[in-house]
Symmetry: C2
Subunit: 591 residues, 2 copies
C-alpha cells in the first residue's frame, strides 16, 4: 500500500475522491449514461445510448474501486455495487454487454470493429471489474466481465465461424492482461496476444471488413489503416502514427503482453515507438497527438503550441505506457518521461477543484485562441464525447503505484515525493517537499536490509534507520530542437520535472507573447499556493516589447522598444485555476 503525503499529488487525490468522482457520477446520471444501463431506452426516446457511454461509466467505476483500495468507504462502495448490479442485470444470456448495441442496433453487434467501440468499452468494463475485485474480493463484477470476455474469445479468432479481427479502438488488450492476472485464466492473455498479432497483418482484417477503404492509391489505404495503427504488423511499427489515444493504449497492451510472454521483438517495437515519440513527437509537457484533425500524431517535429491538441486521455495513456516500460526495463528514459507527464500534461486537463476539464491541452492560449467547441481556453464541466473526465477518476488513485517500484528487497523511488509505503516486508516513510525542494528523507519504520534506489543513488536501510539525500533542482532554460519551428527563438523554463508557464493573472496588462526573457536570467523562487496546491513560483527579470501602433492596425510599420519587466512563472499544470486567463509555456528570448 502506497499513500501519497506530498503537496502536489496528495491534494489531487483528495479532490478526486471529494469532487471528480462524485461530479463525474452526477454527469453520467444527468446525461443518461447510467439510465442507459437499465435497458429502458426505445427508439424515438431522447438520450439514445451512445457507442462509448459504457466506457465512461466504467472508468468512473474503476476510479471508485481504486479509491476504495486507498480509502475504504461504505457509502462509496454501496454506490459502486449498485452500478455493478446494473451491468450484471444488463448482461445478455450469451454474455454480451454493451448498452448501445443491445438497445440501439442489436443487428450490428461486432459488425464494424474498425469504427465501433464495443471492444473498447469491453476493455474498460474489464478494468473496472478487476479493480473492484482487487478492492473488495467480490467476484460479482469480475465474473460478469469474464463471461463477456469469454463471448469475445468465442467471437474473435481464426477458427471456423469466428471473426478474424482486432479492436478498431484499442484498449481491451491491456485490460485482458489484467483479467488474466485477476482470474488466473491464460485464455485472456491469449486473446490479448491474438488481437496484437492480428493487427496490421496481411490480409488486413479491417480491409476485409471495409473493402471500400481500399483506395486505388495504396498510400491512402495505408493512411486510413495507420489512423488505427493497423497499416503494418505492430512488431514492424517504428513511428507513432494515427489517433494518439488508440496508439498509446495499444502500446500498453503490447508492453503487457511482452512482459508476460518475454517476447523481445514486441518489447523492441515498444521501445522504438516510445523513442520516436520522445525524440520527435512530444511536446515539452509530455503532451502527444498534436493535431485535433483526427486527434492524431503529426509528422516528426511538428509541434505547434497554439493549435495543438494533446488530448488529456493521450497524456494519461502515454503515462500508463511509460510506467509499464519503466517496470519492464528500469530504464531512466521511461522514468523521466513518466515524471514529465504526471507533473505536466497528464494533470493539466483537470481543474484544482476537480470538476472541470480540458480535452485539449494547448501550450499557448491567448485571448484569441480559436475555440473549436469551447474546450481550449477554459476547462469544461463535461463533453458530448467525454472520455477525458472519467479517465482522471481512475488515473489519479494509481499515482502512488506509479511513483515507487516496490520489490521484495528493493524499493525504487522513481518519483520521490513524500509518501508512506507499507508492505509485508517493509514500512517506509518518505518525506521532503520534492519537487519544491530537493531534500529527500527515507525513514524505515520496518525493514530488513532493504535496498533503496533513487536514480543514481543507492542505499541500504534497516528498521529504525533514516537516510537522507539531495536532488539538485536548478532552474533550467530549455531550448527545443531547431526542427521545431514553433519554439524557435523561445525558451521554456523547467525546474526538476516541472515545466513552467507564464499566466496572464501573474503577468498583467500585456499579451504574453510580448514578453522576453534573458538567455541567462536571474531566477528567484517564491512560495505560492493555488487552490490546495503549494509550490514554488519562479520570477525572473525580462522585458516587454512595445511597438507603436496608435491606430491599432493589424499590420504596420512601427518603432519597437524593450521595457524592463519582471516575469513570473507557475507550473504549467496549474494554469487556469484563477479564472479566465492566457498562458504560454514557450517565452521569447532576448538576443
Amino acid at each position: 500500500m502506497i499513500r501519497l503525503k506530498d503537496n502536489f499529488f496528495a491534494p489531487r487525490q483528495k479532490t478526486n475522491r471529494e469532487s471528480t468522482i462524485p461530479s463525474s457520477l452526477r454527469r453520467c446520471e444527468e446525461t443518461g449514461r447510467i439510465e442507459a444501463l437499465k435497458l429502458q431506452w426505445k427508439p424515438g426516446m431522447e438520450n439514445m445510448p451512445h457507442v462509448f457511454w459504457d466506457s465512461d461509466v466504467a472508468k468512473v467505476m474503476e476510479g471508485m474501486a481504486l479509491e476504495l483500495l486507498l480509502n475504504p468507504d461504505e457509502k462509496l462502495r454501496d454506490r459502486l455495487e449498485k452500478i455493478i448490479d446494473l451491468f450484471v442485470a444488463m448482461q445478455q444470456d450469451d454474455g454480451y454487454l454493451n448498452s448501445h448495441f443491445i438497445q440501439v442496433e442489436p443487428e450490428n453487434r461486432w459488425k464494424d470493429t474498425f469504427n465501433q467501440h464495443e471492444l473498447y468499452c469491453a476493455g474498460h468494463i474489464i478494468e473496472a471489474a478487476v479493480a473492484h475485485f482487487k478492492a473488495t474480493g467480490s467476484r460479482k463484477f469480475l465474473d460478469c466481465a469474464c463471461r463477456y470476455a469469454d463471448l469475445i474469445i468465442k467471437t474473435f479468432g481464426n477458427g471456423p465461424g469466428q471473426k478474424r479481427s482486432c479492436p478498431g479502438h484499442e484498449e481491451i488488450e491491456l485490460a485482458l492482461v489484467k483479467l488474466y492476472h485477476a482470474s488466473g485464466e491464460k485464455k485472456y492473455l491469449d486473446l490479448a496476444q491474438y488481437f496484437i498479432d492480428t493487427r496490421g497483418v496481411e490480409p488486413n482484417c479491417f480491409l476485409a471488413e471495409h473493402p471500400e477503404m481500399a483506395d486505388p492509391d495504396p498510400a491512402k489505404t495505408s493512411a486510413r489503416l495507420a489512423n488505427h495503427q493497423a497499416h503494418i504488423p505492430v512488431r514492424e511499427q517504428a513511428e507513432a502514427v494515427g489517433h494518439a489515444v488508440r496508439a498509446v493504449y495499444l502500446y500498453c497492451g503490447m508492453a503487457d503482453v511482452a512482459a508476460e510472454t518475454g517476447d523481445r521483438e514486441l518489447l523492441a517495437a515498444c521501445e522504438k515507438l516510445f523513442d520516436n515519440i520522445r525524440q520527435k513527437k512530444m511536446h515539452i509537457t509530455g503532451g502527444i497527438g498534436a493535431t485535433s484533425i483526427g486527434e492524431t500524431f503529426c509528422g516528426e517535429y511538428f509541434l505547434p503550441n497554439d493549435t495543438c491538441y494533446d488530448e488529456s486521455c493521450a497524456a494519461i495513456g502515454f503515462a500508463l505506457f511509460c510506467w509499464r516500460m519503466l517496470k519492464l526495463t528500469g530504464k531512466e528514459k521511461y522514468r523521466e518521461t513518466l515524471e514529465r507527464l504526471v507533473f505536466n500534461a497528464a494533470l493539466s486537463g483537470l481543474s484544482l477543484d476537480g470538476d472541470k476539464f480540458f480535452y485539449a491541452n494547448l501550450l499557448e492560449v491567448t485571448p484569441y485562441t480559436f475555440e473549436h467547441g469551447s474546450t481550449r481556453r477554459q476547462r469544461q464541466k463535461w463533453f458530448d464525447c467525454s472520455c477525458c473526465p472519467p479517465n482522471f477518476c481512475r488515473f489519479i488513485p494509481q499515482l502512488g503505484e506509479m511513483f515507487f517500484r516496490c520489490e521484495a528487497d528493493t524499493v525504487y523511488l522513481d518519483i520521490p515525493v513524500a509518501a508512506e509505503i507499507e508492505s509485508e516486508q517493509y514500512h517506509l516513510q518518505i518525506s521532503g517537499d520534492y519537487p519544491a525542494g530537493g531534500r529527500i528523507t527515507v525513514k524505515a519504520v520496518r525493514a530488513d536490509n532493504l535496498k533503496v534506489i533513487c536514480r543514481e543513488k543507492e542505499f541500504s536501510i534497516s528498521s529504525g534507520e533514516t537516510i537522507s539525500f539531495e536532488i539538485e533542482l536548478p532552474v533550467k532554460v530549455i531550448h527545443a530542437n531547431a526542427a521545431v519551428a514553433s519554439d524557435a527563438g523561445k525558451a521554456a523554463i523547467q525546474r526538476g520535472p516541472i515545466i513552467y508557464a507564464l499566466e496572464s493573472v501573474d503577468n498583467k496588462g500585456v499579451e504574453l507573447s510580448s514578453l522576453l526573457i534573458s538567455s541567462e536570467p536571474d531566477f528567484q523562487l517564491e512560495d505560492m499556493e493555488i487552490g490546495n496546491i503549494k509550490f514554488k513560483a519562479i520570477t525572473a527579470s525580462g522585458w516587454e516589447e512595445q511597438i507603436d501602433n496608435p491606430d491599432n492596425q493589424l499590420y504596420f510599420e512601427g518603432e519597437s522598444r524593450l521595457v524592463p519587466r519582471q516575469l513570473k512563472f507557475i507550473p504549467y499544470a496549474l494554469w487556469q485555476n484563477r479564472g479566465r486567463s492566457s498562458m504560454t509555456v514557450w517565452v521569447r528570448k532576448k538576443y
Copy 2:
C-alpha cells in the same frame, strides 16, 4: 478592353491560356466531370457525379469565355461550345440542370439547400453563361441559364407552393446580378435580393429544413447557422464568420445588390464585414479563413502561420469582394486590400507552370509541416474536392478589369501595372515596371482631356500627351498587431504591394526559423527570374542562431550563438516553383 503588358500578371495570363485552362479541362475529363454531363451514369457505375462537379466545369468554361474576350481563338471557342451543348442537352424540360441530382438522387432535388450545392452550381453555370454571352454574343448558353434561373424563381420564394430558403453555399446571388445585367430581366436581381433578405431572418429557413440542427443550447444552434452566415440577418452581421469561401461570395452578392438598389444598409454591412476582416481576420498576404476545421474564419487576431488554411478560393472570393467595394465606394482601403490579394494570397495557390495548385496557402512551411492530405507543402495537380484550380481559370482573365476603373471621363489606375486600355473614348498605354519599379508612364494614344487618377495623384491627359510619375517603393519592416501571438518577435518584409518570404532554396542548409533579421536591415534589391516572372529579390544581412545539441535531443539545455548570415527574400506568391522547399513569411527579429 484592357490588356496587361507587365512582368507579373501578363505572363500569368499567358500561362492560364496555355496551361491552366487546358490542364483543368483535361482533369475534368479524366475524373468524369465532363462525362457526367452526358447523363449516362447509372447506379453501380464508377465516377458517380458529385454534387459540386458542375461548378468545377462551369468555372473552367467561364475562364474559357473570358479568355475568348481577350484573345479570340476558334479552337478554344469550339471546345467551349461543345461543353455548352452538353449542358443544353442535359437541361430537363422544367429547366433543371444539375448532373448529380438528375442522375444520382432525383428524389432529393432542392430538399437540402443547407448542405447541398445545387444553388452554388447554378451560380457558376450562370456566370459561365454570362461570360459566354459577352464573349460571343450567342444566347445559347445564356438562355439555358435563364431557363434554369426561372425554375429557381418558381421554386424559391414566400408564395404558396414555394420553398422559403436561400443557398447553403452562397454564390448564386452574385451570379444572378450578372444575369440581370446580361438579360435585362429584373426578376433575377429580385431573386438575388430575396436570397439575401431571407438569410438568417426569423423564422430561420435552415432550421425549418433541418429541425435537428436546433440544439437545446442556442449558442450551438447559432454556431451551426453561422458556419453558413445564417445566424442573423445579413444586414446585422458585423463579424466575418463561418466558412470563408461561402462568406466572401455572399458579401460579393450583397455588394452587387447594394450597387443596384442603392441599399445603404446593405452597403454598410458590407463595409463592416470588410473592416472586420481587414483589421482582425486576415493574414498579411490577404489570406482568409485561418483554420482547416470547417474551412472557417477563426476568432479575431487568431492567425497562425504554420497551421492556417487560407484557401485559394477564399482569397479569390475576397479579391472579388474588394473589387466590388472599390468600384462602389472608391475607398483606398478596398484598393489596398485588392492589391494585397492579387500580388500575394490570391495567386500563391497557382504554380508558375500553371497546372499545380495549393488548396491551403500557409505562411510558414517547414520540412515537418503536417500535410493533412498532401496539400500543404507542394502544389498538387488536382483535388478530390477541386474548387480551387478552376477558380484560377476564371479569375486570371479578369485581372485587367480589376486593376483599372475606366469611366467615361476618368481612368483610375488602381493597380498601375503596364497595360493597354482601349475604349470608345480613349486609348492609353501604361508603361513602367510597377511594382518592381515605381516610375509609371501614361501615354494617351487617343484621349480628350481625360482625367487619370492614381491614388493621391491626379492628371489631365489629351491625345499624344504623356505623363509620368513615381510611386515610392521602399522596403518596409512590418510588424503584426501585438494580439497576433504567432507573429510576435517577428517581422515581415514588404515592398510596395508585395509580401516577401524566405524560401529554403535561396537560404540553404538551415531551418528558416533559425534565421534572424535586424530591426533596421540594410536591404538590397536584386533582379531575379523564376519561371516566366521577372521581379526584384531582396537581400539583407542577418544572423543564424546555432544552439549546441550534439545528441539531437528534442528538448535540451544548450549554448546559443548568432552567426552572421545573408538573407534572401522573394515574393511570397512565387515560392515553391523550384522544387520541394520550405518557406516563411514572418522572420525573427534580433533585439
